[in-house]
């Protein structure tokens, strides 16, 4: 199973072809370049249609069928979708586990990555080394190797057990106990804070020093400067990281698959949504139901993202009041 993550960190994303660009260029030149543009896009378009759009359409069709992979799909309308909410305890368990994971791991990871970025931002010498060192775990990303190491660290009699026992806290095998298992996966996720950290660091470096200086002269302490300068100036970057990390978290698969022993962990404590989807489709031969689950996940991610975008007006500060002249 490959990773479900998009490559990160994305650099400044391209703006959708919008109003500003249209005004930049003479209309004639734009029209002329269109055929060439599409010619260059063709290989990508072919790939997108054959490998993405096509399968998506098929999976949308399958989500309304009962399909066991061996015999032809049988149309059952919304049967799969009603089954999820009315008759499948494990589905609800997977939703619960995933929501807990998203709600805890995302804020925690963003907080840690912001704190580390601020720490690195104050350093003068050796910053490059530390930046690389802190980013390294993220390169391992959703890798199986990192998850295997994590399992070895947190299993019964493993280093974590030993260290905690030496200070008097006797814990069971973290990865094999329903109370601790999800926590160990969240810790793994938080440990891989490098991607948002690098983006935060770039954002921090762009906050004009004179703002901090002026505030300091006016008597603002470190916390006030953080609260009233750093956070607002950084809010577009926080927004970006929040959206990306939330999407990743909803799709997280590999750590739960490896740490949970490929079956959802002890007593289904690590039954992530994607893990249950995989199990239903590829182990229980219910590919129609798995497709329906995939579409529900897509819809939920879209809705959550839309909500975050809506609330962005309330808390994301874009310092573009003075760019009017350029438009």
């Amino acid at each position: 199973m490959t990773t479900l993550r998009t490559p990160d960190p994305p650099a400044a994303p391209p703006r959708p072809a919008g109003s500003a660009r249209r005004r930049d260029r003479p209309a004639g030149r734009r029209r002329k370049s269109q055929p060439e543009a599409f010619a260059f896009l063709t290989p990508w378009l072919l790939g997108a249609v054959a490998l993405t759009v096509g399968p998506m359409v098929v999976s949308l069709y399958l989500s309304f069928t009962d399909y066991d992979m061996f015999t032809s799909p049988k149309w059952i309308g919304f049967g799969n979708f009603t089954h999820m909410v009315t008759d499948d305890d494990r589905y609800l368990q997977s939703v619960k586990v995933t929501l807990i994971y998203v709600l805890i791991s995302v804020p925690l990871k963003l907080t840690v990555s912001l704190l580390v970025a601020m720490l690195l931002n104050t350093r003068r010498g050796g910053g490059g080394f530390y930046r690389a060192a802190f980013y390294a775990p993220s390169l391992l990303g959703a890798s199986v190797a990192a998850a295997l190491v994590w399992r070895a660290l947190f299993m019964g009699g493993g280093p974590v057990n030993e260290v905690l026992a030496s200070v008097g806290w006797h814990t069971p095998s973290w990865v094999d106990d329903p109370q601790f298992s999800l926590a160990s996966i969240i810790l793994l996720t938080v440990w891989q804070f490098g991607a948002p950290m690098v983006i935060f660091l770039a954002g921090l470096k762009q906050i004009p020093a004179e703002l901090h200086e002026a505030a300091a002269i006016d008597g603002a302490g470190a916390f006030r400067r953080f609260r009233h300068i750093t956070l607002p100036m950084l809010s577009p970057v926080i927004f970006f990281n929040l959206v990306m990390e939330a999407i990743h978290a909803f799709q997280s698969f590999t750590p739960a698959f490896v740490i949970g022993g490929g079956r959802g962990g002890p007593a289904d404590a690590d039954l992530f949504y994607t893990l249950y989807l995989f199990e239903v489709g590829f182990q229980d031969f219910r590919m129609g139901y798995a497709s329906a689950m995939a579409w529900v996940l897509l819809a939920v991610i879209a809705i959550v993202t839309a909500i975050v975008f809506r609330t962005a007006k309330l808390w994301v500060f874009y310092d573009d009041a003075d760019t009017g002249g350029r438009k």
Binding site: P13, L51, M69, P178, P208, I247, R263, Q283, M287, A294
Partner: protein, 440 residues
């Protein structure tokens, strides 16, 4: 991003501030792709016939099997065999995908838990018809051969024979005054596990908690004259039977004879990753042919013993098809495929190469030859099954569709009990309702 004189964050290309409106929908797409992913396999070259052959197992088993395949190719120069293997769980995921993609391998390894799944959906060829008739079953125990028949069609032939058994550490049990190899009653076994646990200071328990094992539940039921599945493919036991079984297992756990919940939960089918393999317990219910793998993982000189018996002396053990070989119904090379299957189960030289890795050779003549020459672990297994032979019953009927998921369901629901998150009654009713849904 680059930094401008005003210190704002700017888009690389246009020098414009980064703004809203871009989140990649593409992030979601790979997930959906998993729903339709499929892989194929290459087909022949030139005039020769090429067949694909897949099985599950570890590297050691793969080396033995590849040697056997090489021998087959030497004897049949016109047939080229392409092989691949995976671990048990990954094997089924891959096979399901290949099958859905319309290109199942020609010769495949099948487990009784999945025989109905694949046979019942016409993925497997009926070996009583056509090319399959070339496979000789003359020297195979008829009861064992019959285990590959589902709804009147021979979808598979047994590749080896094993039997459910107990793997244990003789030193620990001898010190506790018990000799499992001679056969214990459940009461004696319970007492011995407590002593073994106590002797280790409770760091290694006497037994891996068997509440999670479907095979042990099956043996326990058989000892009482019941069965796991009926011939019609329904559960052969009641909620009350399961409640009694879990209460029985719970006594071992409460008395600290069996493993604590977190150790039990770490079990994941492979001997290397099991509590006994990791030296966290001193005995575990498994299959006799896994003895070498357990020995290697555990490091001690482990041995194999029959299941503890019920008060009436019944052990409930049976001649189990360790695994099957099948030919794909969609194979274009049925004759070559059947030839390979026949070779793998009947050829004496193959028997010598593969030894008892999968269990005893299915062909009785080959088995007799090998038994007399066996040494080491092989000899242990031959002697064990030879001594048990008169007591072994016939294998139960082929498990129904959905049986592959029942083991995991049993493990999951029992863990709820072992961790104290659910009462036995609630866990039993969850098991029964999910099992009945999964098997219908």
């Amino acid at each position: 991003m680059r930094r401008t004189s005003e210190g704002r964050i700017r888009g690389e290309a246009a020098g414009r501030p980064v703004r809203r409106g871009f989140v990649a929908l593409a992030a979601v797409v790979p997930l959906l792709l998993t729903g339709v992913a499929a892989c194929g396999s290459d087909s022949g070259d030139g005039g020769d016939v090429t067949i694909n052959f897949v099985w599950w197992g570890n590297d050691g088993r793969a080396n033995l099997t590849k040697k056997a395949v090489e021998l087959f190719q030497q004897k049949n120069p016109k047939i080229k065999v392409q092989t691949s293997f995976s671990a048990y769980q990954a094997y089924w995921e891959k096979l399901a995908t290949q099958t859905a993609g319309g290109k199942p391998p020609d010769v495949l390894n099948v487990d009784s838990r999945y025989l109905a799944e694949y046979g019942g959906r016409n993925v497997l060829a009926d070996l009583n018809q056509g090319a399959g008739k070339a496979i000789s079953l003359a020297d195979i125990n008829p009861e064992l051969a019959a285990t590959g028949v589902y709804q009147g069609k021979r979808y598979a032939v047994p590749w080896a024979q094993n039997t459910p058994a107990m793997i244990y550490d003789p030193a620990a049990f001898t010190a506790a005054g018990a000799d499992p190899a001679k056969g214990l009653t459940w009461d004696q076994f319970a007492e011995a596990t407590q002593k073994v646990s106590a002797a280790s200071g409770f760091s290694a328990r006497g037994a891996t908690d068997f509440g999670i094992f479907d095979t042990t539940l099956e043996i326990w039921l058989r000892q009482q004259g019941k069965q796991f599945y009926t011939p019609e493919g329904k559960l052969g036991f009641t909620a009350d039977d399961l409640r009694r079984y879990w209460q029985f297992a719970g006594k071992f756990r409460d008395a600290k004879g069996a493993s604590p919940a977190d150790v039990t939960a770490s079990y994941n089918t492979s001997p290397e990753q099991s509590p006994l393999g990791k030296k966290l317990t001193s005995s575990e219910f498994a299959y006799d042919n896994l003895l070498p793998a357990y020995k290697k993982a555990n490091g001690k000189n482990l041995n194999v013993a029959p299941y503890p018996a019920a008060a009436n002396g019944e052990t409930g053990q049976y001649r189990r098809p360790s695994m099957f070989l099948s030919v794909s119904a969609r194979s274009q090379q049925q004759e070559a495929a059947a030839k390979l299957v026949d070779f793998l189960i009947n050829d004496p030289e193959v028997g010598k190469i593969v030894g008892t890795d999968r269990g005893l050779a299915p062909n009785l003549k080959v088995r007799a030859q090998l038994a007399s020459a066996a040494t080491g672990n092989d000899k242990t297994l031959y002697d064990f099954e030879a001594a048990l032979e008169p007591k072994l019953g016939a294998a139960p009927p082929v498990p129904p569709k959905g049986a592959g998921a029942i083991q995991k369901l049993l493990q999951r629901t029992y863990e709820e009990v072992a961790f104290g998150r659910m009462s036995i009654d609630d866990a039993v009713s969850r098991f029964m309702s999910e099992a009945q849904k999964g098997l219908s």
